[in-house]
Every structure is written in C-alpha cells, then in structure tokens.
Amino acid sequence: MTTPIRATQRSVAATTLAGLQGNLTRLAGLQQQLSTGRLISQPSDSPGGTAAAMQIRDDISQMRQYVRNADDGKAWLGTVDTALTGSVTQLQQARNLVLQGMSAGSADSPAGREAIALQIDNVRGALFGLANTMHVGRPIFGGTTAAGAAYEADGTYLGDSGSVQRTVAANTRVRVDASGPATFGDGPGNVFDLLSQISADLRSNPANLGARLDELDTVMQRFQAAEADAGARYNQLDLLGQTASDRITTLQSQQSQLEDIDLPLTITELQLQQTAYQAALSATAKVIQPSLVDFLR
C-alpha cells in the first residue's frame, strides 16, 4: 500500500480498512483450514495437489477393490482346497481298498471282494459329492457354467472350459477355481469311470486290479498337483491382498499429507496472524481518532 502524497482522513480510513480487510481475510483463511482440517477445499487451493488427491482417492478405491477381490478369491480357493484334500483322502482310501482286494485273504473270497466293491462304490459317491462342491451357488469345478452342477451322476462333465478369475493387482488375474477336467477328468478315463471299473473288477476280474492300481496312482498325482497349485494360488492371493492393503495405508498417509493441514504449523500461523491483526486494530484506533478538531477549543 503506497501512501499518497496528500493524505486525508478518508484516504487514511480507506487504506487502513483495506489493510485490516487483508489481515482478516488471511485470518479467516487460516480459521477455515483449522475448522475443516483441510488444506485443499477447492481445486484452486492447489491445482496440482487436487489432481494428485483425486488420483490417490481413485487408487485407494481401486486398492480396496483389490483387497475385496483377494478376500473373495481366498474364500473360493479355500473351498477348492477343502474339496481337493477331501478327494485325495477318498482316493487314498480307494487305493487301500484295492490293495486289500488284491491281498491274499480277500482275493479268494468273492464275498469279501463284494464288501470291498461296495466300499469303493461309497468312495465314488463321496467323490461325486466333492466334484459338485458349491461356493456361493456355483460349482467350483464347473468353470463358468450356469448349470447348478459340475458332473452328472454318470460322470459326464456339465461344466465348460472357462475359469473363474479375480483381479488382485493391476493386470494381475489369479484363477480361484479348479479345473474339473484336469482333476476328476472329462469323458473317457474320468475318475468316476475308473472307480466303477475297479468296483466291477473286484466283483468279477480281480486279476486286472494291479493295472487299475497304477491308473489310480496317476489320478491321485493329478489331484495332488491340483491341490499344491491351489495352495500356491491361495498364497499368491494372500500376498497380493496384503500388498494392496498395505498400499491403502501408504496412499492414505499421502492423501493426508496432501489434503490435511499441518496442525502445529497452522495454529502457529493463526497465532501470528491474530497478533498482527490485533496490532493493526490497536494502531488503527490510535491513528484514526485524532484530528485538529480535538485540539481546538
């Protein structure tokens, strides 16, 4: 504020008022920051900061979604894991039964083999139930099928070749189901046919059981591989979900740095501004009041 060559009461009042106004505006700005707790309340407060803040909000929302996706995927893979572990247990039991059927004691007794064959039929039933395991209304071994089951009772695969995937990081998709054809099989050689054949062989052709045992071992290896794969994918999801979750914390602190005020700094500035304002007020009160009129008697 420059002082004009000739000052008048009115011009002094006007310039003083403008100065006080500026003081009060700055005070109001600081007070707004303090009461809202925000450094950026509109884009013009910091155009670059606004764009960054919006980007961070977007990223946080994306990361939250990744965490949700990972949690959802882990639930899927948990179900897959349980089903596969159950299947392996069942197959293990089938293998024991076959060995039992091949052993000397039962090999000669048709009645004993019939009993074992019945147990094998039970194992087949249990595996059928496991193959049609559902997660939130969808068969986990059925790919993306809209049908309510992955396998028909006769062992026909009802699912499709699609897979259920979850996006858990930018451009990173993890499969959260397990392939029915790659475990239980599709068409000839599926695990249900194999067990039916074992059951038939037990009843009528025990000599063939040795070859069946080899086939059963191959199937079991398939299941074990799938189980290990599901476990690895579960770990991957867990890790990526945790990464996204950690990222949220980092992003939130970045957002806070961008948008939120530095409390001690702002309070100090407010104090300084208040002192300046009060000084201006008291100086104004001294300057504005007197004129020659006060001294003429």
Partner: protein
Amino acid sequence: MVSTFSGLGATLSSLFAHRAAMDATGQNVANANTDGYSRQRVVMQSVGGNTVPAMFSTWTGVGAGVTVSSVQRYRDAFLDSQARIQHAQGSYLDGLNSVYGQIQQLLNEPTDTGIQSQLSAFWSSWQDVTNSPGDLAARSALVQTGVTLATGLNAAHQGLASMWSNVRDQLTSAVNEVNNLAGQVADLNQSVVRANQAGLPSNELADQRDRMVMRLSELTGAAAQPQTDGSLTVTIGGSALVSGATSRQLVVGGGQSLEQSSSVPVSLRWSDTGAGVAVSSGMVAARMETLNATVPGYSASFDQVAAVLAQTVNDQHQAGYDLNGNQGEPFFTGDSAASIAVAFRDPALVAASAQPGGNLDGGNADAIAGLAGISGGADLTYRNLVAGIGAAAQSTQQRASIQTTLVTNADAAVTGASGVNLDEEMTNLILYQRGYEAAARVMATVDSVLDTLINHTGVG
C-alpha cells in the same frame, strides 16, 4: 483624492470574501465523508485600480478590496483516468473470479461425493460383477452406480447451463445500466455546460457526473476525456458512448442458452450502427468472456468426459455377452454430459461374460473395470479438467487480489488529490476567521476615524 468612505467598501468586500471562504470550508467539512466529493476552495483576488487610464479617473495606489473570483474544484484528470482504468480491470477480474468460484462449487472436488468418486464407484461395481456374475443384486448395483454417474454428469452440465443463463441475465441488466448511465451523463453534461455559461456553480454536478463515469468504467472499461466547454466525452473501445449532450445505446445479441452459444456467440453492439463494441475490461467484458469462452469451454470438457466414458464402456460392453448369452448392447446412450444415460435397467443385460452362451464368466466386466486407469480414459480426462479449472481459478484469484491493491492505491491517490482533510479545513477555518476578525477590526478603526472626523471635528 481618496474617497472618505472607500476604506469601508474595501473592508466590506473582505468580510464578504471571508464569509464565502468559511462557507466553502463548511461545505467541505459537511462532505468530508461523501463518496466522490471533491474539495472546493474559494479563489480570492485582490481588486486593483483601473487597468485603462482615463482623463478623470483618479487612483491613490491602494486597492479596492478583495473579490471571490471563483470556487475551484480540486480534481486531477490524470489520477481520475488512472483510477477508472484500475477499477475497470478490478471489476473485470472480480467478475471472472466469481465465475470460477461458482464453477469450483459445482465441481465439488476433491471430495468423496464428486464425479471422481462416482467414477471410482462405477469401476468398483464392475469388479463386483466380475466377482459374482450370476448375482442379480451386484448387477443391479452396477446399473445404479452407472445411473448415478450419468446423473452426476447431467447435473454438472445443468449447473453450467443455468450459470450461463444467470450470467446472460446479468449481462443484459449491466448493459441496461450502462444505457441508463450514458443518458444521465449526457444530461449532466448539458447542465454543466449551461451552468458554466451562466456562471452558476457546477462543482456538485461535476462530482455526480464523475461518479457515474466511474460506474461506467467499472461496467465497460469506458474512458473519459474532459472538453473545454466543461462536458465529458465518454468512449468505449474508442467509440463515443456520450459526447456532449448526446448518448448512444448498447444492445446485447446472440444465443439465449448455453447450447446456442457455440453457434451464435453472445455479442454486444451499438444500437445505432450495429457495429460490434470492443470491450476489454469491466464487468461487461468479464460477462462476455464467461458467456463465450469460459462456460462453453468447460461445458465442452465435460462433454468430452461423457463422450470418452460412453465410447470406451460401450465398445467393451458390446464385445461381451449378457446373462442370457446375447451379445452386449451399448451400456450408455448419448455422447455429451447433457445427454448421457444408462441404456437399460434390466440387470440381466449387463454383458459381464467374455464368452457367449449365458455362462457365469466375468471376463468382460473385468475388462470394463480395467478401463478406469487407461490413458485418455474418462478418469484422466476428468482429472485434467479439474486441474485445469483449478489452475485458471487460482491465477484469476491471484490477479484479482493484486488488482484490489492497485484499485485501493488508485483510489487513495484520487482521494489524496480531491478528498477533504479535516486538519487542513480547520487550519483554513482559523485563517478565514482571523481574516474576518481583522477586517472587522479595520472597519471599527475606520468607523472610529470617521467618528473623530464627523462628531468631534469643529464641534465646540
């Protein structure tokens, strides 16, 4: 020979002159706080002898008193024109600043409710559909967030459009005010010229005229040139608005709505010649810029956000298959912020699957969710728009705040030249009072001398 009573006449003229000077001081003190008042000073002139010698004129060498030659109004034409320029620029920037303030309120960023958040929620909903492609609830939620987003863009456009109409109305009323003021300034010009010719006081009329011209400058950036006859010529962009006792009128033409403004820009013309008026500062210039550049520009940017959103989502959506196994339809209709809308309400029509045949694949929904971060996508376009508005608003704010200081300084300079200083008036008052008292003393002395002459000479 000196006339016996000539001393009394000269003293009387001094009493008159000092009374007049005290009256002027009184007028100044009375108007110490009147906006636009210029201080006045009585100009006294001593009365001398005859300038033309004549045969029978006698002259003793002593003057015949004092006379009030004029009442002068203190005004600096240069400072006035400076103040007018600064005020014009100030109100121009204030006008722009308030527009940016409104646009920023409209944006409501960065918050958890702005369009950016709606976009984020929209993309998240696609991921939810990816996770549960068969879940009608997730699909309905997606359609709803789509509707919310489209409505958000519609509202942004609506906000800009109603703002445009408001500013259009303000421009019309500002131009009406300009036309009114121009007429009044012309009338005052005539009054001042006549008063000057008749030797009547015209200072208060001139003050009133200056105030009006200042308002004209604030509105249109008008400049004024004083003429020798006492009138003021007011020009806008070099063309005369008021010249002597005649004034011209402005008319606003062009589009009546934001939609029309792109094809028919708002124009400001002289009503008599139809020629365009070049306004570069003042409130009217701010309004014109808002109507023809600022608001249509940002409206086009919002349209671009909507167009990019509709284009990218529709392209990907049509590449997928809905719950019934059919090829996807466009998700959005419309390609501008005003017209964008979700094309359907049936959640089954969301093409989440990348494979035909009505399965529960979520591949296409995932692909659409992935559109969130692509370069040139709706998010980035929108963020650029917000950052652009923020930068423009910030620079306007800073310019306006600097201009406020310049306006205050210019005003201080004008008040410095023409304002009333009470100390000065008091000093003058004492001066005139003493002058009056001294004149009265002279008169008493002359009276006493005459008393000696008339009553005591040659008596008894």
